[in-house]
Symmetry: C2
Subunit: 154 residues, 2 copies
């Protein structure tokens, strides 16, 4: 259930760009340094994000990367799906990557997993970078900054 490093890195950089939106490009060196991402690794990530139309690049002396579209037009779900592949916890509850299950025992927990997948997808697809960013500035009681504040585990 864990996000890959790549997704993590991509999100870090995207939010840095969101914060800097409208104020010119940031060189990749700076993006890497500020977010503790290996620069050479980040290059590939940025290329993928450019291909997806999330960022634009400017070469040359004062070049770097900018957000290619408004932060409220990029959804968390898009990013996670692109780098992590499927959101669904198991093949047979995936629509895009659906594969049938011949096992009746599997179909005992398929509806349950489908529910979870739907809930994740719903939240992911409703949340834009802009929304998540502004929410993070005024934290609500529901989302405490300190993880030990709630009783859940893992």
């Amino acid at each position: 259930m864990k996000l890959s490093k790549k997704t993590d890195y991509a999100l870090r950089v995207l939010f840095t760009l969101v914060e800097h939106y409208g104020r010119g490009p940031i060189p990749i060196r700076e993006l890497a340094r500020r977010n503790e991402v290996p620069k050479r690794f980040l290059e590939h990530i940025m290329l993928e994000m450019k291909a997806r139309g999330w960022v634009d690049s400017t070469p040359g002396k004062r070049g770097g990367y900018t957000l290619a579209k408004s932060p409220d037009k990029i959804m968390m779900g898009e990013v996670v799906r692109h780098f992590d592949g499927v959101l669904a916890p198991i093949g047979c509850v995936s629509v895009t990557h659906y594969q049938p299950c011949s096992q009746s025992s599997v179909c005992r927990f398929r509806p349950f997993l489908l529910n979870i997948r739907n809930e994740i997808a719903r939240q992911m697809d409703q949340a834009s970078l802009a929304g998540v960013f502004s929410d993070s500035l005024r934290p609500s009681p529901e989302t405490p900054q300190n993880p030990s504040a709630d009783g859940c585990e893992t």
Copy 2:
């Protein structure tokens, strides 16, 4: 975000045992066959599950595995957590495996991910094998048997 094969296999077998609860042991050979799980691989999985107190084994000619406790005393969350490790999508939103993030950009999406983690954990920890099993017998409109019935992707 995907469940490991091991978790998948474990759940398949558990639900087979749930279905057979109270009617004696099932040999591992049969569990493997009915659920299309490699037998030698399943041995290890069963050992882990025995150590966790979910199943019991009976050696000998009419031996095999049984559920060690009532199906409503085993939670989906326990199983997934055991085999897949952390439920949290990223380290800094995990309680048991919490590791601090020095990156302010990370903390832009931490609250969002924490919400998702909480929702997953809530559903996982509320659902017992018994509950999931009986729900699967009378499918509701919310959980269609055919994944293409709803509009979500992945």
